[in-house]
Symmetry: C2
Subunit: 139 residues, 2 copies
């Protein structure tokens, strides 16, 4: 598999690779920390001082439509974004707020009841305490 730059990835989806769009996509590809729009904004503002939130939102919605990223909706008051597109679950620690990825057995999704449904999007969200926070509590 050859390396594809962010700019190329955008062009492939017929999205004009403007500076802002490239930077936002690069950020998502480099950081799998499931950032919110705001986090991306704060990070990129140094590099692109004129950047506005509206551009972030516009761009992320564009990416969602083009399926360049996926939306993680684990908490009701925040939309998070992820450039990993394969199916995996997300675990959010209610103590530290970190979000962890985990693999899913593919057969998780063989839900007989949904035979006649056309499933286009699958999300698995768990919440609880992560090992770090559990350890710290014991201390």
């Amino acid at each position: 598999m050859k390396h594809v730059t962010a700019a190329e990835q955008l062009s492939d989806k017929n999205i004009k690779p403007s500076l802002q769009r490239i930077k936002i996509l690069e950020y998502l590809r480099a950081h799998h920390n499931h950032p919110t729009a705001d986090q991306i904004y704060l990070e990129l503002r140094d590099e692109i001082p004129t950047l506005s939130k509206a551009t972030i939102y516009n761009t992320l919605n564009l990416f969602l439509e083009a399926k360049l990223v996926r939306l993680i909706n684990i908490e009701d008051n925040e939309m998070r974004y992820d450039s990993l597109l394969y199916n995996h679950g997300h675990f959010k620690c209610i103590n530290c707020g970190r979000i962890y990825d985990f693999q899913l057995n593919s057969d998780v999704f063989e839900e007989m009841e949904l035979e006649r449904f056309q499933i286009t999007d699958k999300n698995v969200y768990y919440k609880g305490m992560c090992p770090d926070c559990l350890d710290n509590k014991i201390k």
Copy 2:
């Protein structure tokens, strides 16, 4: 299993069974349509004309804390509530907006990677087209 009234269920959790609280819980127990706070509000307003949205939100948050209901966060701009507490998945049709419940294999959740995690909440959200909408499209 004996029948438990909404009022009893509230008392069991040390929540004073006021009229509003009883009605809201009864509504959730009777309708497994995963309503938003607004839907509940609109439905109950006829019965309780003075009812305010704030009370709905306050009450639902109270119920969440008492684990009388669970939150379904399948869409980012809406919090939905469900009085079914056993583990099941939710499928949202992107065409008609309806939400369907489906059973999950219990072994779905044996995720080795999460061995050291304490999981307190599990949500499985699918999206796509439901059979009804698929049929209508063909026509």
